[in-house]
């Protein structure tokens, strides 16, 4: 009886151990997926700028250009996830600049990949936050481009 209980206990421990090991190996093999908490089976990493990666993706339209820290594409649907990494802690707020940056990436990606199914996320040191896209904010940001050019040219 005691031997049976011991075998059962060891078997359960072994199963948990194998499960933890598989998770660990997956996280090690797909560090960018792991960083942004993206499903490895469902999403494919298109490009990344973190961890010394060199395969970054450039998003551009007629006015703006930029490379998000990570871009994932859903394997079964026309769906994307844009990831932006910030070294700071979340501290219960997303800075305006961070929000604008992700909205711009999302808006440009919507134009470039011709789909509205794009999610923007920010990975902070302690948590990941989703940034909802706002069409009005995106248009307002693009509307600032002429003003930006005027200001920047005044520096020279």
């Amino acid at each position: 009886m005691a031997v049976n209980a011991l075998i059962l206990g060891i078997s359960i421990f072994a199963l948990f151990f194998i499960y933890a090991m598989v998770k660990k190996v997956r996280a090690w093999r797909y560090p960018v997926h792991n960083l942004f908490g993206v499903n490895i089976k469902r999403y494919q990493l298109i490009g990344s700028d973190v961890g010394g990666s060199t395969n970054q993706v450039t998003l551009r339209n007629k006015l703006v250009i930029g490379s998000p820290d990570a871009l994932f594409k859903c394997k079964s649907a026309k769906k994307y996830i844009i990831g932006e990494f910030k070294s700071r802690r979340y501290r219960n707020h997303v800075k305006k600049r961070e929000r604008y940056q992700v909205i711009l990436y999302t808006g440009v990606a919507r134009e470039q990949y011709r789909t509205n199914d794009i999610e923007g996320v920010i990975r902070y040191k302690d948590r990941t936050v989703s940034v909802p896209f706002c069409e009005d904010t995106y248009r307002w940001l693009l509307g600032l481009v002429p003003e930006y050019i005027r200001v920047e040219s005044s520096f020279k």
Partner: protein
């Protein structure tokens, strides 16, 4: 209106957040230490690393294999 070049998204976001600060620093870095910290974090994040639990797992596997082969 024609544009000679495209604007970097990060710079436009910086300008949109605080135009006065952007103009004051001529579109440049506000806090050099923070930038250095951020770059370091960027480089460190998303790298293949085993960590303490990974090392422990490898040790346990090694010991298990050694016991089996003995």
């Amino acid at each position: 209106m024609s544009y000679r070049k495209r604007i970097p998204i990060s710079k436009l976001a910086y300008y949109a957040e605080d135009p006065k600060l952007f103009i004051k620093h001529r579109g440049g870095v506000v806090n050099k230490v923070a930038v250095r910290y951020g770059n370091k974090g960027h480089h460190r994040a998303g790298r293949q690393k085993l960590g303490l639990s990974g090392v422990l797992v490898l040790i346990i596997i090694g010991v298990a294999l050694w016991l089996l082969m003995r």
